[in-house]
Amino acid sequence: MSQALLHVRDLKVAVEEKTILDGLNLTIHPGEIHVLMGPNGAGKSTLAAAIMGDPRYTIQGGTIEFDGEDLTDKAADVRARKGIFLSFQAPQEIPGVSLESFLRTALGAVQGKQPKVMAFRRALAEKMELLNMDSAYSERYLNVGFSGGEKKKAEILQLLTLQPKLAMLDETDSGLDVDAVKTVAAGIKAYHNENNALLIITHNAKILEGLDVNYVHVLDDHHIAHTGGPELIEQITTGGFAGILEGEDDHGG
C-alpha cells in the first residue's frame, strides 16, 4: 500500500477544556474515500476542525501527520498550503471580496504564485457550469446573499479550484434539495482521483452515490468506535447506530 496521506495517532482534542476526542486513530491513503458517521455531538466536526487547524480547538495529545510531515502544531494556513481542505458547514460571508477574487487569491496562496487571469477565468467558468452556478456569482461578494445551497456549491467550487490532496466535507449535503445534492456529488466526483483523498462527514447516503467509498467510520465515545466497508452506510441508514456500536472498541481506518 502507498504511503499514508493522513495519519492521525492517539488524538486528544478539547474545546474550552472539555474533551471531545480522545485516543482517536485514523489513516487515509491517496485515492481513498472515507465516510465519517456518528450520532449528533459525537465530535465529527471537531475531528475535521482539528485536522484543519481550527485555533478554537486544543490538541491535548497525539499527532497529525500529513504527507509525511508532522503538522500537529502548524497553523491552518500552513496545513491548507500543504494540501488539506475543509468544506465548512456554515461558510463565512465576506462583503467586499468577490468570489472570483477570493478564489484567485486563495489559489495564489496555495500555489505560491498568482494564476494568470484569463486562464483562471476560463477554468472557473467551466467549474461553475459543472456545478450549475450562474456565472454572475463570480462577481458577487463571497457568500453574501447566497442561499444555503449556493454557499455549499461555492465550497465545492473552491475544492475544484484549489485541488487539495485531502478534502474534508463537513455535512456539505445538509440543507440541500435533491437536485443540489446531485450537483454537489458530481462536483465531488470530478475532484476525486487516485492521487487525492476524501473524508466525508454526512448523515445522507445520497451524496455518496457514484462514489467508491472505501471505509465507513462510526465516531462515538470520543473515538472511532467502528470501521467497516460501504455496506455500513445502508445498515446505519436503516437501523441506526445502536446495533453497530454495541460492544465495539477502537479501530483505525
Binding site: 487547524g53 494556513d77 477570493f102 487569491t105 486563495a106
Partner: protein, 364 residues
C-alpha cells in the same frame, strides 16, 4: 476668514460629555493669513455637456453643508480658487477637478458649484493630493443643485500627506426624481473634517453617500453627514467604512432627518470600522429623526477587530495572517474604490492606501 471652531455640529445636540456634539477644537478651521492663502495649484478638465459659468448659479446658493453655515461662509469668502459648472444633457465623460498642495502652493481653499440641468447626467472627480512633506491646508466647499431628473456623481479622492489638514464641505439639493451620488475617500491628513448635507425636498429625490476613511498616528477624523427628507418618496443611502490605527480619534455623525411631508421616504445608514489598535478612539452618533409617520429608517453599525472566524476561514484556504488581513482591509474599501470611474485613479488610490497601511505596519 477667521477661525471657525464649531464644525460638524450634530443636528440635535446631546450631552457634552459624550463629545459628539461637534468636531473637537483641535480640528477648527484655521484663520486665513493676513497675506491671504496664496496661489493654488489647481486645474480642471471639462467633459462634454459640462461648461463653466462665471457666476455662482443661483440654484446652488442658500444650501448648507455638513460642516455648517459658518464654515461654508468662511470657505466661500476666503476661497483662493472658485469654479462653477453647469451640466446639460447626458454625458458619459468625467469632469476632473485637481488640486495639489506643495511647498509653493501649500493651501487650496476652493469653492465649487455644480448646477445639473433637468434630465442631465454628469460625473465629477475631485482629486486632492500633495507632495510628501508640505503641511498644507485643503478646504473645499462643493455645492450641488440637481434639477428634476438630473443625475450627478461626485467622486472625492483625498490622498494628502499626513501633515496636511483637510476640510470638506458638501451641500446637495435634489429636485423631483433627481439623484445625487457622492463617493468620498478621505485617506490622508492629520486633521480631516468632512460633512455632506443633502436636502431632499421634492418627490422622488435621492441621495447616496459611499464613504471610506483611513486614519493612523495621532490624526483626528470628524464626519457629519445629514440627509434631510421633506419630499415624498425620497431616498437616502449613507454608508461609511473605515480602518483606524495607532491613536487616531474618529467621530462620525450620521443623521437621517424625516420631516413632515416626507411620506414613504426611505433612509438607510451604516458604518463598518476595523480597529487595529486598542488606543484608537472611535465614536459614532447615528441619528434618525422623525416627524413623519410613514417612513422607513434604518441604521447598522459594526466596529471591532478582525473576526477570528473569518481569519480562520481565510487561513483554511491557504492565506497567511498578513494576506488575510490585507484581504479584509481591501474588503472594507473595495465597494467604494470600485465606484471610482477612472481605472488609473482607482489603481493609484489603492497604491496610496497600501503604502499607508504598510507604513502603519498594518500590512507587510
Amino acid at each position: 476668514m477667521t477661525t471657525t471652531e464649531i464644525l460638524n455640529a450634530l443636528p440635535v445636540t446631546t450631552w457634552n460629555h459624550l463629545r459628539v456634539n461637534s468636531a473637537p477644537k483641535e480640528a477648527a478651521l484655521p484663520e486665513r493669513p493676513e497675506t491671504g492663502w496664496g496661489a493654488t495649484n489647481t486645474a480642471y478638465e471639462l467633459s462634454e455637456g459640462v461648461r463653466c459659468t462665471a457666476l455662482l448659479p443661483q440654484e446652488c446658493t442658500g444650501l448648507e453643508s455638513g460642516l455648517g453655515e459658518a464654515a461654508d461662509l468662511s470657505i466661500h469668502t476666503g476661497a483662493n480658487f472658485s469654479r462653477f459648472f453647469r451640466a446639460e444633457g447626458e454625458s458619459s465623460g468625467i469632469t476632473y477637478l485637481r488640486e495639489r498642495l506643495d511647498a509653493e502652493h501649500p493651501n487650496a481653499v476652493t469653492h465649487t458649484a455644480i448646477h445639473a440641468k433637468s434630465g442631465s447626467k454628469s460625473t465629477f472627480v475631485q482629486l486632492i493630493q500633495s507632495d510628501a512633506e508640505t503641511a498644507g491646508i485643503s478646504a473645499s466647499l462643493t455645492r450641488i443643485a440637481a434639477e428634476p431628473g438630473a443625475e450627478v456623481t461626485l467622486v472625492q479622492l483625498q490622498l494628502l500627506n499626513p501633515n496636511c489638514k483637510r476640510y470638506n464641505a458638501v451641500s446637495v439639493k435634489a429636485a423631483r426624481d433627481a439623484h445625487v451620488r457622492i463617493v468620498r475617500a478621505e485617506l490622508g491628513g492629520s486633521v480631516v473634517v468632512a460633512g455632506a448635507r443633502a436636502l431632499l425636498d421634492r418627490t422622488g429625490g435621492a441621495f447616496d453617500l459611499d464613504a471610506i476613511y483611513y486614519g493612523d498616528g495621532d490624526s483626528i477624523l470628524d464626519f457629519n453627514d445629514v440627509a434631510v427628507h421633506t419630499g415624498r418618496d425620497t431616498h437616502s443611502e449613507m454608508h461609511h467604512a473605515g480602518v483606524l490605527a495607532d491613536r487616531c480619534r474618529k467621530t462620525l455623525r450620521g443623521t437621517i432627518d424625516f420631516r413632515r411631508g416626507a411620506a414613504h421616504a426611505v433612509g438607510h445608514e451604516s458604518e463598518d470600522v476595523l480597529l487595529f489598535s486598542p488606543e484608537v478612539r472611535h465614536r459614532a452618533a447615528p441619528l434618525i429623526l422623525c416627524t413623519e409617520e410613514n417612513v422607513e429608517g434604518q441604521h447598522a453599525a459594526s466596529a471591532g477587530r478582525l473576526d477570528e472566524n473569518v481569519l480562520y476561514y481565510l487561513a483554511s484556504r491557504g492565506l497567511d495572517p498578513q494576506q488575510a488581513k490585507r484581504l479584509m482591509v481591501d474588503a472594507r474599501f473595495a465597494p467604494v474604490l470600485d465606484k471610482i470611474p477612472d481605472e488609473a485613479l482607482r489603481d493609484r488610490t489603492r497604491e496610496t492606501l497600501e503604502r499607508r497601511l504598510e507604513h502603519a505596519q498594518i500590512l507587510g
